[in-house]
């Protein structure tokens, strides 16, 4: 009993804190996203080469960014969980997985829709596309591993080991367009010598990226809270069953 109280001590603080922050975070996310969508879809000019299809980028690039950033934060949470045995870290990693997978899927879908007018094909076996597809599979494997191992503690640690092993794919994605000279364009925003695109396009893109990232954080918070509440409910049920059985 003492152990379980100790276990919930930190999550309790997390619940209070996140409960207070959440409404503000949601409001800020909605604001950023609506400003970003206005800038991206209405206010920004069409590209001189790609025309209106360039607007696809305002969804595609932030999704792709969150696909790998989401995995990186998941791996970080898994490492924290493995090192300090913190159940909250495991719960947040578990919460992030379907979100990261969803953004990866979104990046793949928008990328393939964008690829049709640009490259003439929905899918090409380009290094960046392939490595992101592999990332999507790794997300699925991580989620599947959570599902099949019943005990929470064991599942948390096993999935974390797998998550860290899968993290080797991240640098491959990051540098795939530089290492292999393929169809996908090389990095144009996060470069050492400054972004290589015009500010009329860069500003809406950055606002959208911030909005997407905040959406990811808000959803992670919500899902982590749900996970904690579910575990609490399960613990209460177990307690009740034990009391009733005696």
């Amino acid at each position: 009993m003492a152990k379980s109280i100790q276990r919930f001590a930190n999550p309790a603080r997390f619940m209070a804190l996140s409960g207070a922050v959440l409404p503000w975070a949601i409001a800020a996310t909605a604001l950023t996203l609506s400003v970003g969508l206005y800038l991206a879809l209405i206010a920004s000019p069409p590209d001189y080469q790609q025309g209106e299809t360039v607007r696809m980028m305002y969804v595609h690039v932030p999704s792709a960014w969150l696909a790998s950033a989401g995995y990186a934060s998941m791996a970080l949470a898994c490492a924290v969980g493995l090192i300090w045995r913190h159940p909250l870290a495991f719960a947040s990693a578990k919460a992030m997985a379907p979100l990261g997978a969803a953004f990866t899927f979104l990046a793949l879908v928008t990328g393939s829709l964008w690829g049709k007018p640009m490259w003439g094909a929905y899918w090409v076996w380009d290094a960046r596309l392939t490595s992101v597809l592999v990332l999507f599979f790794i997300y699925l494997g991580y989620i599947a591993l959570w599902e099949v191992i019943e005990d929470f503690g064991r599942a948390a640690r096993a999935t974390s080991v797998f998550c860290l092993a899968g993290a080797v794919n991240l640098p491959v994605i990051r540098f795939s367009v530089d290492w292999w000279n393929t169809l996908h364009q090389p990095a144009s925003v996060a470069r050492l010598d400054g972004p290589a695109i015009h500010s009329s396009i860069l500003t809406p893109l950055l606002v959208m990226a911030v909005g997407f990232t905040m959406l990811f954080l808000v959803l992670t918070l919500v899902r982590t809270r749900t996970e904690i509440m579910q575990r609490r409910a399960a613990a209460l049920e177990m307690q009740q069953a034990q009391a009733g059985g005696m």
Binding site: F137, I138, L140, G141, A144, L145, V148, V161, F162, N169
Partner: protein
């Protein structure tokens, strides 16, 4: 060190005596390769062009098939618990098991390669690079597979999840392996393949040992 080799010898002996051992994997491998011409058509030029990739994919699938027994049998009869308590480090035990797995499952496929290669009309001068690429690359399949097997040991229907988590990690080996299988012996793909194998040799036993301790705890 003698404990290490004893474990290797034990696993090889067990593989030879239980359930047909390496021949099941070999039969699966040959059947997969035979299926390809039925699927893509019996155009010999096309087959010789896609040959190295087909053979690599077939080796990969045959390896995958054998993975879920890597720790499962020892887990079921309780010897895995004893192994974890033995003085030999778990990492070394994983290494021994991978070595035995590679010798009993993959080496027979590589030995059969010259005979199977003619099924896909492989050029004879590609055969040597292909076999070298397999010798260099397939150990990584055993190491990464051991991580997957260790994560899913004791899990019901773990075999399905095993393939879901192991196959994405196999992608680099497949890319560089199939590319090295067509090129020259010291080309860039072969060097990348070697680097990938060595990296998995260095990292996977530790990850798999950690996963084993978690699964059995």
């Amino acid at each position: 060190m003698s404990a290490f080799w004893a474990l290797v010898a034990r696993d090889i002996k067990l593989a030879g005596r239980l359930g047909g051992g390496p021949f099941v994997g070999l039969g699966f491998f040959i059947i997969v390769v035979t299926m390809v011409p039925f699927g893509v058509g019996a155009d010999l030029d096309l087959l010789s062009r896609i040959g190295p990739g087909v053979l690599w994919v077939a080796v990969l699938l045959a390896t995958l098939l054998s993975l879920d027994r890597l720790f499962q049998a020892d887990f079921e009869d309780g010897s895995l618990d004893l192994f974890l308590m033995s003085p030999l480090p778990v990492e070394a035990q994983v290494l021994a098991k991978c070595l035995a797995h590679w010798i009993t499952n993959t080496v027979p496929l590589i030995i059969a390669m010259p005979a199977v290669a003619f099924l896909v009309n492989l050029d004879t001068d590609i055969l040597l690079p292909l076999i070298v690429s397999l010798l260099v690359g397939t150990p990584s399949l055993s190491f990464i597979g051991a991580l997957g097997a260790a994560l899913t040991v004791g899990v019901r229907r773990g075999g399905l999840v095993l393939s879901l988590i192991v196959l994405p990690l196999y992608v680099p080996a497949l890319i560089f392996g199939a590319a090295a299988g067509t090129g020259d012996l010291m080309g860039t793909p072969m060097l990348f393949l070697g680097a990938f194998s060595l990296a998995s040799l260095a990292l996977a036993p530790f990850a798999a040992a950690a996963a084993l301790r978690i699964s059995v705890s």
